[in-house]
Symmetry: C2
Subunit: 310 residues, 2 copies
């Protein structure tokens, strides 16, 4: 008898049935059946120009960036990547149950790599106006935000509607953030971190988030932890070298990640959230009936056939 | 300029000031100052008989067990440990952003290690009666539980007060759980897991939790992820061997972990939660004012002088 726990991420299945269903029916679905019953239009392929490929030895981590929430930090990051700024730099920090961070390991100003055409300071993008966003709100009692939901695949917190209501990317596992110093405009995308533990949501609206991981998180989350304060590595030989960082539109097609991510502005995604809320798989003694935004998980699946038109 | 993020765990500081403070004053404290102002009576040393030492190569992970929530599973675990059941078994699973699990890697019944005097089946201990517990409830809007708080250092969820109100250990990072099959009584402490990612709170009340990590989590959380379904390792040479598991009262004193954990039934701990809620450190642009139970973190610190009476 091998004891087990249920699947975290659903398996990848082809669409078999139409997605027409009442809410009542939806509540009887499992995450797997929602995916089975999805149609092609429930999925999107992220634009390669918005994907950042981080290469560490044999491993590759791919992030999707959000210009909707952090246009200026994303632009600066693209400028840095275009200059091969990160190539040869390093993962400088791994703090257990918190973040892995990478950038320039140089200890003093004199030996820091030049930012070239990128800006050194950018006004923070900790949040943006809620107005103008199509937020797919979910039914969740959130500890930190008035409301939570999804925008273009990203988990989002927001204020209740008001003239100055804000919305922001949340620090769920795999969120990609911009390290900063004490000053609010001191982040510039040259030092980045990924959340590798329980969502540190108290950082929401205190740091600019610019994206989230869509492949290869384990390459960062399973790194040895740094033994210095804040999980910084204490000696040069502990650093993990960054071999290369590229934007997807400069990666040869055969090397690109071809992936479909479930659209979050669809009825199918609403059904998926419902199925993750009411855990009807046989294993569950208590099907919960509750959900937290960082536990939803937006489904993705490999694209097995690349459309000829791409 | 090295970009940084704030400390997750506060540094260890000696008591300097008395803990007398009004709530108003408390709200102006940082986590560090609460610890500075604590007194000896705000801390406890866990009983060695309730500590489980898991040895993997050069690394050691220490868990505190909770007989308050899972008396029968804890008793069975102690029986197994007393028989050296785990020595030579293995970590069989590491699923990213979820759990690491260990136990008997044998694939078929015939070669499974005998449980000896331990029971093969135990009625589940997914929750217990809330009555009789002294829960230090915290002010948090929880996605999964009516109320959340702490009991004896453990994060706890509970129903609102009623005749049949329940309380349960929550699946925060570092929680120690008992793997089970489809049947509710099929867990017996011979296969254990530790949460290594964002709290999978939908497992609350579906699995018996028996403790939490108090030292060395990174030895499990930074293991390479398994590539099989559910993060199981696919070949024998990927397994991480468990060298030895002991209960603390059989560990020579010089090798024991001597640690103090902040008591959670104290005004000082309430102040600590308040300080973690209102982030007044200069770095914070937005001091949050909110907290989630898995983001509190119960402070601990090494005992530098072992009392002669121990």
């Amino acid at each position: 008898m091998k004891a087990f726990l249920p699947l975290l991420l659903v398996s990848v299945l082809l669409p078999l049935m139409p997605p027409v269903m009442a809410e009542e029916a939806a509540s009887k679905l499992t995450p797997s059946t929602v995916i089975e019953q999805s149609t092609a239009s429930d999925w999107r392929q992220p634009e390669q120009a918005n994907l950042m490929y981080l290469e560490i030895g044999e491993q590759r981590i791919v992030f999707e960036l959000s210009a909707t929430f952090a246009p200026n930090h994303v632009q600066n990051l693209k400028t840095l990547v275009g200059q091969s700024y990160f190539d040869g730099l390093a993962v400088i920090r791994s703090q257990d149950n918190y973040v892995a961070q990478w950038g320039d390991p140089a200890e003093d100003e004199a030996t820091l790599r030049s930012l070239g055409d990128a800006k050194e300071r950018i006004p923070h993008e900790f949040y943006r106006a809620k107005k103008g966003l199509n937020i797919n709100t979910i039914n969740s009692r959130d500890a930190y935000a008035d409301e939570v939901g999804f925008v273009e695949g990203f988990a989002v917190g927001s204020d209740k509607d008001s003239k100055h209501a804000r919305a922001w990317l949340t620090h769920c596992y795999g969120a990609l953030g911009v390290g900063r110093g004490m000053e609010l405009d001191s982040g510039n995308s040259s030092s980045l971190y990924m959340v590798t533990g329980h969502a540190p949501r108290h950082l929401d609206r205190n740091v600019t988030l610019i994206g989230r991981v869509i492949e290869g998180a384990e390459a960062l989350s399973s790194l040895p932890r740094g033994t210095g304060p804040l999980g910084f590595y204490e000696s040069a030989d502990e650093l993990t070298k960054i071999d290369r960082v590229r934007m997807g539109d400069t990666v040869p097609e055969a090397e690109q990640l071809h992936i479909e991510i479930m659209r979050t502005d669809t009825e199918t995604f609403q059904n998926y959230v419902t199925a993750r809320t009411h855990r009807l798989d046989d294993w569950f003694a208590d099907p919960t009936g509750k959900i937290e935004v960082c536990n939803v998980g937006v489904p993705s699946r490999p694209v097995t056939q690349i459309p000829a038109s791409e």
